[in-house]
Structure formats: C-alpha cells, structure tokens
Symmetry: C2
Subunit: 314 residues, 2 copies
Amino acid sequence: MRCNHTIHHERHHYGWDNSIDPVISVQPGETVEIETIDASGGQLSEKSHDKDLLSLDFERVNPVSGPIFVEGAEKGDILSINFLEFSPNSQGWGWTANIPGFGLLADQFLEPRLHTWKYDSENPIASLFGSYGKVPLKPFCGTVGLAIEEKGVHSVVPPRRVGGNLDIRDNCAGTTLYLPVEVKGALLSLGDTHAAQGDGEVCGTAIESPMTVQCTINLIKSSHIDYPRLETSGPVTNHFDVKGYKVTTGIGEDLMKAARDAVSGMIDWLAHSTGMPALDAYMLCSVCGDLRISEIVDVPNWTVSFYFPKVVLD
Amino acid sequence: MRCNHTIHHERHHYGWDNSIDPVISVQPGETVEIETIDASGGQLSEKSHDKDLLSLDFERVNPVSGPIFVEGAEKGDILSINFLEFSPNSQGWGWTANIPGFGLLADQFLEPRLHTWKYDSENPIASLFGSYGKVPLKPFCGTVGLAIEEKGVHSVVPPRRVGGNLDIRDNCAGTTLYLPVEVKGALLSLGDTHAAQGDGEVCGTAIESPMTVQCTINLIKSSHIDYPRLETSGPVTNHFDVKGYKVTTGIGEDLMKAARDAVSGMIDWLAHSTGMPALDAYMLCSVCGDLRISEIVDVPNWTVSFYFPKVVLD
C-alpha cells in the first residue's frame, strides 16, 4: 500500500480543540500512515508495575495523533475513513489495567493492577493472559474523531457525535467509518489503538498497544449524519466464536445496573470455574467479553447479557 | 431423540403463578417435547391484517406451555435446560408486528402493522421480508422460566431473575440454559418461540412462530445463581455474518437514549439506502439487527451500537 503521508507519533495532542494547528493537509482519496502512542501517553512501559498506575498524570492519557486537515471538508459533510492495516509495535507490547476510580465496577475493584501483554508482533494472532487464557487479537482504533464546533479544549475521554473515544472494536482493518464534519478541514485525529477489546471495555482498558495505522480518507459532500456510522467488511466476532460462549445476564429496569449485574455474574462464574482471581477475571472480560442488549422492550425489565468466548479458556 | 414426555400446546398458561398445577412431572435427565403456540395466543393467523392488532386481548398474549414439575428440585438449586431441537409449525407461518404502544420507538411508530412470514418448515434457513430482504432463521425460545417464590399471578411480559421473557436469541438448539429454582419442583414453562430475532428485539416482536421444542432437563443441587446463565455450543451470529454489517451508534450519558438513537439511525440509513418505508425498516431491525454496548466506561458518555447484517439486503 502506497501512503501519501506519514504522521509520526510525536505529533499528538491531548483533548479536542479546533484551534490546534493541523500536522498535515490531505486531499480526499489519499492514504495516510499514522503512528500512535499508547493510551498512557508513554507513561507506562514494559517495566511498569501496579503502583505506577497510582501516579498516572491524567492530563496525559489518551493522546491522539493529528489533526489532519482534509481539503474541501466543511460543516455538513461526512468524512469517511477506510482502515487498511494495523501494524503493532515491534515489541508486541500491550497493557491492560484496573485504574482505581475508572471502569464499570470501579466500586468493587479498588486496587491498581497492571497486566503486561507480549504478543508476536510479526504474526499477532493471540496472546496469553498469565496461565488463565489466550486471547485472540483484532487490532483497532479505540479513539478516532474530528474536532467539534464548540471552541476550547474538550476532554478526550468521552466520545461525542463527531466520534472520539468510541471504543468500537470493529473500527479495525477492512472497516469504513463515517463521521459528521463540524469544522473546516474536518481535523481528524486518532489513537488509543487496542490489540483486542470486547464490547463494553468493561474494566476501562483494553490491550492498550501503540501501532501504525494505515487508512484512506474520503469526503462525502453535503450529507448529514447525527452520529458515527460504520460498515464492516465481514464477520465481527469470528476470532472469538469457535468454541461458543458462556453467557451471564442482568435483568431489570435500569440498563446500567443490568450491565453491571451481567458482568459481575461472569466474574463470579470465571473465578469459580477456573480459580482465577476476580480482578483478573474482570480484566480478562474487558479484553474479550461482549455486552449485548438481548431485549429492550419487555416492560419494565430489560435483559443485558455478557458473552465470554470459551476459546479463551481452552 | 427419544422423548420421555410430550406437552401439547393446549396445556399453556398466562402469567407466572406458583399455584398453577403442573401438567407433568419429570425426573432430572429426562427429555421433554413441548408444543408452543404463538405469542398472540392464537389470536393472529395467516389471514390476519394490521387492524387485528388493535383488538388484541393482552390478557392472552405470550402464553407459555407448562408448568413442568421437576422431581427433587428445591429453592437454592439450579435447573438446567439443554435445548436439542426446534421444529417449526408445518405451515412455516410466523408474524412480526408493530403493536401501538409497544416497542423501543413506540413514540415514533404509532400505526399498527402486521407482517406475515412464510418459510420452508422442512428446511427453515431463511425467509423473505417482502422485496426488501431475506432473513436468516435461527429458531429459539423467547420465554423460558420458572415460577417465582412470591404468591399470586405475575405478568409474563417482563423477564425476572428466574428467567421468563428473556428474549435471548441464543436460547436455541445446542444451548444449555441455567435458571435459579425458587419453588419446589421448579415449575418450568416455555413458549414465545421465535424463528429469528436480533439482540434487542427492538420493535417488540420477533418472527413469532409456534414450534415444537425438545429439551433435556437436569438439576444442579444446592448451587445458587442470581440471574439466568447459558452456554452456547458454538458461534452465535454466523447466520448473519457473511457479508459484514452496517453499524449505527448512539452516544451519551443514558444507555436507553443511546440505544434509541442507534436504532433510529439505522432505520434512517436503511430507508435512505433501500427505499423501504421506515416502519418496515424498524420491523426488519427487530428480527435481525443487534444492539451492542460498545463502551460503558468512557465517562460520561457511553457508546451503544446497532449492527445490521448486510446479508439480509443481498
């Protein structure tokens, strides 16, 4: 694949701000190679330990590389990003953490925990989680978005109508993502690359891993969407599917509580059936288990299910 | 498969009530064949029209066949149900409806609409939705549950900790479902069989279709779970996967609103790209599209995604 531009990982920023100067300008149809750094912004390394999570500077988390100015893009257009390839860092390094105060069950898991992953960067198919499981990998962009119209600096943590920290694990090679443009030039940035994540990213982190991303950028003029859309090129869970799933549920009037109950149920199940500590089960759920809304119509109780792929435990 | 017992479809009840006399008593390990009637309780037929939805008697919806008394089952046990086979009715008849006042977008879709499906009952692989799409089928039990401890009649519409109207589309052949027992004999009933449904069942109905269900019932003594659990025997979406997905999102602080926005976005996308009426798109989403929680940790905004399988439109 011939890339027209390369953005080095030094060219990153924290927070979304439409006054940040673009690092490059591209024509629609061009292909760009973008280096990312990990979601800690380089604060964690292969040598880091649990306690290093307690001194993380949150002003430096979730950097994104960019912004890229797209010629001709204006408010009311759609920017499309076709992801071509994700090349992991040569060390095959990644990390998953339980960061106190962050995550779906932050009230239950108070202690810091850092798990360091090491995968084959030449052939990144799966990676071991201690003695407990082997997680199939599918690299993607956790954060990909455009500058919003409102002035000032906006936190990079929450996703918004223009994208951002979407954490949709199908923003992977082969997918085309559509984002609504709000400012001249669109101002695309991306980062927060993950080697694997389940739907929900329940502990708050995935397999956080710096990568090089190749994508082709296109413009659809005068076509509005309210929120991001995407199209995948094929199956989305076939890396997890082969042995089926363990499924837990949460049932009730509140989707958030039901989601919490479903994930708590899976942590119990995994801990009891494999002997792994509950905190490890929680982190493993984050990188490979899926939160699905099974029904949202049988008033007043909704069913939220958490699917854990059995192939991981094989 | 040798069945030890057959429950005819006349042996059904409305609502959960632990004082209803069992229709049979089985030993753990026995296999049962259960006939179900459709979720309208026989009020709709192949000859029904949109307007018949307006005169539905809601006291007669969602009947379940049973209850089955399981010898030795007591409060604090787990009942396991291994689904062996779902045999559709010989007419290959099913229906999907937008019933006014019911469904995720009931405020947007006010008119009654009934779609009648006709599939090959001998080889039920897919069924046409008018000229708009062809939906892969995967029959399962929408409602399967046990009597609850509290006396009296409890509506069959909402699911509860003992199961019921779970509408988990993976309660299909090959799956084992685990339910917590609250009363002597467990008192298992099931019905509301669906020929296909997506995660969410967003319009409130699936492909509602009477079937015969074969399952083996087992008992796990003195083992507590808070909510239903299940194990699938293999992939759960491979009937939908082959051509990939269109995906829309909803992003915000409220999961319910995000789910509504994601589904609304898909209805818009389908209507614009195929020309199908929005109400048809909504009903089609219900039978084959999936609501997933992509992230539930990037405070304060969650990402809910709706996945529509492109194979349906091919």
